[in-house]
């Protein structure tokens, strides 16, 4: 295991005391250290939100883009230099709300990207409106009479959209969280780790306590992560019992392995331009 301080940024995390995201930050740092991935080879991409501030708090390359668009940016990074370890860290609003289209399309694409969602079931940074994972009937600033939509189920969505690794973790269980991130990082292909990461300021319903009373580990339960049908069934559990752990894992060629433009290696290290011969050939097609 590499020295954990290698992954510590000069900037202190600015989350509210008690925010679930601290555990995620530490989890990512620990997993990277455990796998001994050099910080210079890591790119952490995010959108906008409390959770999306994470790249500023970790020592690695980072791109802190615009709300909901982290996955496309990360895809551009990965396709340019597949040798990099590309992670995306963000929130439920960012990824399952405004960014939902990119989320689903990224999964069918299966780029080797690790996507970690700090799912606090609320819009934190904008001071507490309903998010796509806020539960039905919950009152928020934007839904003072209660939410009247059923929430997005990111696990089920991932399972039917071609994600090759789908897991859930909980900020209240740091060791298990590290393990999930580590497994995601080791997985070749798109991996989702949805982290139940309480917002202590704006979500007074889905608290640490609430989760502690409900979460159980799939691995303690004999769940077979190779079985998609089972995984989907498990993904519907909520409220009474909430499973964490690996729902599903499978293998499929990654997008970058099949991309014709990468056959000659990472595009970032190819010489630019076209030589006389190729140039002539291209022109000849048009004569």
């Amino acid at each position: 295991m590499a020295d954990l301080t290698l992954y510590k940024s000069e900037t202190k995390a600015t989350w509210c005391p008690g925010c679930g995201d601290f555990a995620v930050l530490r989890g990512v740092q620990t997993a990277l250290a455990t796998l001994e991935i050099n910080p210079k080879d890591v790119v952490v991409v995010s959108g906008i939100g409390c959770s999306s501030n994470l790249p500023g708090f970790i020592k690695s390359y980072g791109f802190h883009g615009i709300h909901g668009r982290a996955l496309p940016v990360a895809s551009g990074v990965k396709l340019t230099n597949p040798d990099l370890k590309v992670m995306v860290t963000g929130g439920d609003g960012d990824g399952y709300g405004i960014g939902l289209g990119h989320f689903v399309h990224s999964m069918r694409r299966n780029l080797d990207i690790n996507y970690i969602v700090m799912n606090n079931q609320i819009y934190g940074l904008t001071t507490g409106q309903a998010s796509p994972t806020t539960e039905k009937t919950q009152r928020t600033k934007s839904t003072p009479k209660g939410v009247i939509e059923v929430p997005i189920n990111p696990i089920s969505l991932a399972l039917v959209s071609g994600a090759t690794f789908v897991a859930r973790a909980f900020s209240g269980d740091a060791d298990h969280l590290v393990k999930m991130v580590e497994l995601g990082l080791k997985h070749k292909g798109f991996s989702l780790v949805d982290v139940l990461s309480p917002c202590v300021t704006y979500n007074k319903h889905n608290t640490y306590q609430w989760f502690r009373e409900r979460v159980y580990k799939l691995e303690d339960n004999g769940h077979n992560p190779k079985n998609l049908d089972e995984a989907i069934k498990k993904s519907f559990e909520w409220d009474v019992k909430i499973p964490i752990g690996v729902f599903f894992e499978t293998e499929r060629p990654t997008y970058e392995e099949e991309e014709p433009g990468l056959k000659k290696g990472p595009i970032v290290s190819q010489t630019l331009g076209i030589d006389e011969e190729l140039g002539k050939e291209l022109l000849r097609e048009l004569e």
Partner: protein, 580 residues
């Protein structure tokens, strides 16, 4: 006898008009002629009313031309639609088995060339598009073209795999060729052929794509949209050969964000779209500006507003591009003017994007992107300037990705490089990239970093050549335009000269930053100014007034979907000059 010819093929979508037109263009270019072809089509896959016009001559031709010499009409509707419009036309070729031209429908002087297609194609199985090939054969004969060239084009079109099809097409074309020879002989044209000169026939979009790969573009993302899609098609077809990652994304938002990710990671990255897609990209244009990420964005305009006229040309998006994204940030907007310029402007865009670490937007339009032109001068060895790269992390401190410098440009590092770790952030940040928006927005620092970014624009402006006048300085009239109207304005200058009217032409190639002082000086000397634009409101004229104060009173604005024709501009210019 005329030394150039204009041919129009008219029919319905699905009738094979584009391919027949392209074949004629290639035959002409392989015979050493210059060509210019424009395809007027509709937003429908089959049916509707479509035509393609090719002009070919032994000198450079600047547009599809005003006066149609030959019409190939592929169905009765088009006969009815086009025949009465025509005058000074050498003739109409048509399938006399399927179409009739009633008496009085054509103006006197127009010759009719009925082709008994069924009879001529019978032995090849008579499929409907064979009428096109018959007409093509007949036409090439009347223009005294060499049938070997016709054969070569047919062979290259259908490829080696399809010997039967190739033979049938050659046979059918030969039929038309011989029939015309025996019935009508040569028409009144004297085209100077030179079979040693084979100029490539290129569209603006192909030029953009090639310019990009020549400049080292390694990442191309797009979402299909007319009239930008053919860049995607070219790129996808050449992706492995040219080592370019080509990604069709889920939408235009993803497209530009992917390109920005690629640019951040070190690829020369480009994407293309049209107005509606560009609207979706605007938020990320500002992201590129703020994170100082190089990226090239092509937007090819079409008839607006909204979905508008998706297959028609217009220059209506100038302020959408100028205003794209909130706040002030550095950006460059280039409007190439010809197919050849599409090639070089694209290559230049990559250098500017990386040298100044900002988004460069290339504005084309349907007419420029899709019309075909013969090209003389393509140099594959374009200069590649990747701008400032940091080569070490400095003093062991946190790397200053956004270090304050005189020019505003800070040396970049790429992910994977040792000692130069940093985060590029869309929030306001300090020299190292650390946010200043979250804990304490130091007001002075904010101003300093804004100024640093914006300072780049001064240096960009110094680097970009100021526009100059083409034509005599003290001409009777100054024609102003941007983008694709270049050709028609250049032709107008020459046509007016024939009538002893001196005109000059001011083409605004760099829309932003704008050479306000230079343009003010140039316009101060103009006797009369005519602004020629393909939009309703005179968007360039507005930009010019904004940057120079000069109000251009005379405007020729066109927003009916079709490009300008030389005679429209000539007429308007003459009116102005003669009216005082």
């Amino acid at each position: 006898m005329k030394s150039e010819v204009v041919v129009r093929i008219a029919g319905a979508a699905g009738d094979g008009i584009a391919s027949t037109g392209e074949s004629f263009a290639r035959i002409a270019s392989r015979s050493g002629l210059h060509i210019f072809a424009y395809n007027s089509y509709q937003s429908v896959i089959r049916g509707g009313s479509v035509w393609l016009q090719v002009r070919a001559g032994d000198r450079k031709v600047y547009s599809q031309g005003d006066i149609v010499d030959f019409l190939i009409a592929l169905n009765q509707d088009e006969v009815n639609r086009h025949a009465p419009l025509m005058s000074d036309v050498a003739g109409i070729l048509y399938n006399s088995d399927r179409m009739k031209i009633p008496d009085g429908e054509v103006k006197p002087g127009v010759k009719l060339y009925p082709l008994p297609v069924k009879e001529m194609t019978a032995k090849y199985g008579s499929n409907p598009v064979m009428q096109n090939t018959v007409a093509l054969g007949a036409l090439t004969r009347m223009l005294d073209m060499n049938f070997d060239v016709v054969i070569s084009v047919i062979k290259d079109t259908f490829g080696d795999k399809n010997k039967a099809i190739v033979d049938a097409n050659i046979g059918v074309a030969r039929g038309g060729y011989d029939y015309a020879g025996s019935k009508w002989g040569s028409a009144d044209f004297k085209l100077k052929f030179d079979y040693a000169k084979r100029r490539p026939v290129m569209t603006g979009n192909q030029a953009i794509a090639m310019g990009a790969v020549a400049a080292g573009c390694k990442f191309y993302a797009a979402y299909p949209m007319t009239p930008a899609s053919s860049i995607l098609h070219w790129m996808a077809a050449h992706s492995d050969k040219c080592g370019v990652v080509v990604k069709q994304a889920e939408d235009e938002i993803a497209v530009l964000n992917m390109a920005i990710g690629a640019g951040f990671a070190g690829a020369r990255a480009m994407c293309a779209t049209s107005g509606g897609g560009f609207a979706l990209m605007t938020e990320a244009v500002g992201l590129a500006g703020m994170t100082e990420t190089p990226v090239v964005i092509v937007t090819s305009q079409r008839g607006g507003p909204s979905t508008g006229l998706p297959t028609k040309t217009e220059q209506g998006d100038l302020f959408q591009v100028f205003g794209a994204s909130q706040g002030d940030f550095p950006k460059i907007i280039i409007a190439p003017s010809t197919v050849e310029d599409c090639y070089y402007a694209t290559a230049e865009a990559f250098n500017l994007a990386e040298k100044y670490q900002l988004p460069v937007i290339i504005m084309s339009d349907l007419y420029l992107s899709e019309h075909m032109e013969t090209i003389s001068n393509i140099n594959f060895k374009v200069a590649i300037d990747r701008g400032l790269m940091a080569n070490n992390g400095g003093d062991g401190q946190q790397f200053k990705r956004y270090a304050f410098t005189e020019t505003g440009v800070s040396p970049r590092s790429l992910p994977g490089m040792e000692g130069m770790i940093h985060v590029a952030a869309s929030d306001e940040h300090d020299e190292t990239g650390v946010l200043i928006s979250d804990v304490f927005t130091d007001e002075e620092l904010r101003v300093k970093i804004m100024n640093k970014r914006m300072r780049k624009m001064e240096f960009v402006l110094k680097e970009l050549p100021a526009p100059t006048l083409y034509g005599p300085a003290n001409a009777d009239i100054t024609l102003i335009g941007w983008g694709s109207t270049y050709s028609v304005l250049r032709e107008t200058v020459e046509t007016l000269a024939e009538d002893d009217i001196t005109a000059n032409h001011l083409q605004i190639r760099y829309l932003w930053p704008f050479h306000g002082d230079a343009v003010t000086k140039l316009l101060a000397k103009s006797k009369r100014i005519l602004d020629v634009e393909g939009n309703y409101s005179g968007q360039l004229a507005r930009l010019i007034r904004m940057e120079t104060g000069v109000k251009i009173e005379n405007k020729l604005l066109k927003y009916d979907g079709e490009p300008f024709y030389p005679n429209q501009v000539v007429k308007k210019a003459k009116e102005l000059v003669t009216s005082g």
